[in-house]
């Protein structure tokens, strides 16, 4: 059991976290077939070469970069806030069955709210700004983090809680030193599910309101029947999400190097 350590456990695990670059091959294959089969300039299924020119065109107007930056800001800040909110509520609900029961129905109600239905209300009370965007993103993206945290908190081994009690930890210390670290792998799993959700929701709010961002560019491209540009933007978002996910995987591996190997979620 002991001394079964690989020589470079951390580096090895870090690399294991990253998807192999070969994994893009299926997508590339699809794109090549698409390009070959789609000779004419179809208004709905334009060939990948038209996607590229669409993006170039969009960049030339000078609108692409600010839109990307605006979306990026919402995604990153939203991610941080969603994690904070999800962990806080998750710990609260995980620690006390009574709180879980009291808040459960309300949370489930909120979870079912479709963004298009709450956007007008959020705008009414918050206005057309970053705050409104973030509110929608956080409200809708925190669920995987919240649920994973709560369920992991409930699964903390009772012995560990006995240890905390026997060492005279205060409520805050129990959460800070025992509860959150022991559910850290689950929190990170939740964040990993929430990450693409944050991207999707940021774009959705932008699509629904035309507030500056990549989503607004998408809806404009769609309305103007510039399908090449639309596909180009979609690929851009996909690549960006992939990049963000990879960065997050590395952060995750760095954080989790202290945890037993099996607790690292995929």
């Amino acid at each position: 059991m002991s001394q079964r350590l690989p020589k470079f456990p951390f580096l090895g695990r870090l690399l294991m976290q990253l998807p192999s670059p070969l994994g893009v091959l299926p997508l590339i294959a699809v794109l090549i077939v698409w390009q070959i089969l789609q000779k004419g300039n179809s208004p709905y299924f334009p060939p990948p070469s038209a996607w590229w020119s669409g993006i170039v065109q969009s960049a030339a107007t000078g609108k692409l970069l600010p839109a990307c930056l605006a979306s990026l800001q919402t995604i990153l800040v939203g991610m941080v806030l969603a994690t904070a909110a999800g962990v806080m509520l998750g710990v609260l609900i995980g620690l006390s069955r009574r709180t879980a029961r009291a808040l459960g129905p309300l949370l489930e109600f909120c979870r079912a709210m479709p963004p298009p239905a709450i956007v007008p209300l959020a705008i009414l009370f918050l206005g057309y700004d970053e705050r409104m965007k973030l509110t929608i993103v956080v409200i809708s993206a925190m669920w995987p983090i919240l649920l994973n945290t709560a369920s992991a908190i409930q699964r903390i081994h009772p012995i560990l809680l006995d240890v905390a009690t026997s060492f005279h930890l205060s409520f805050y210390e129990r959460i800070r030193f025992v509860a959150i670290p022991s559910v850290m792998p689950s929190i990170l799993l939740g964040v990993r599910i929430a990450l693409p959700l944050t991207i999707v929701l940021t774009l959705l709010v932008e699509i629904l309101t035309s507030i500056e961002g990549v989503g607004a560019l998408m809806i404009t491209a769609q309305r103007n029947f510039q399908s090449g540009q639309l596909y180009g933007l979609l690929v851009l978002v996909g690549l960006f999400g992939f990049f963000l996910n990879t960065v997050f995987s590395m952060i995750q591996a760095i954080i989790l190097r202290r945890w037993p190997p099996r607790s690292i979620p995929a």
Binding site: V163, F177, S182, P261
Partner: protein, 255 residues
Amino acid sequence: MSDPVFECRSASVTLSLSGGARPIISDINLDIQQAEFLSIVGPSGTGKTTLLRMLGGLLHPTSGEVRVNGAILTGPPEGVVIVFQDYANALLQWRTVAANVAFGIERKLPAKECTDRVNAALDLVGLSRRAEDYPWQLSGGMQQRVQIARALALRPAVMLMDEPFAALDAMTKAGLQDELLRLRDQTRTSFVFITHDIEEAVYLGDRVAVLKGSPGRIEDIVKIELPSLRDQISTRQMPEFLAYRYGLHKAIGHG
């Protein structure tokens, strides 16, 4: 004799389980002196762990009382620490060995003193070289020693141990048993040691309490009068040792 560190006066614990309220231990009367090693043996299901959790302040007696240094116990008492059987879940897997050992004292002592105590505790259990490893990188015996070091770092007056060596191999177990006795002599710590292994109870104990029945009651307390310097081979072959062993087996009902 001086005042006991621990006193139980007709303490009982009743737990409400899914099947309704069930008495687990009943009418427990115990005294534990300073630097005394008290073993508690009993068949499984007699409430050994419940008794220990009560002494550790994790459970309140439903009736009767538990006193530590004369004060009625209301929560986990200062100077009393528990070593759990299930070391894997009792350690903070995300902390290094050193950080685990520091867990009980880091918020109370200045950093320097904390480090000194951690090093001393790790020295005592022979894990100085693994201080920067994580528990999941250690063998079971080493992990249990980390837990013991964590308890020692607190410099407790009383250590409550719940079948700490149950999952360990015979060699490791023997080594740790002798370490405990050495620690007791060095630190004057009192031990309450729960085990289902009668030989272990006799080998370690100044007294052995027999817990029996459902709900569990203290059936008998046997004073062990063996030479205070114990030895794994010679002590275990002494006729007195064998007699104690035989007597306790009978008392438990293994006849």
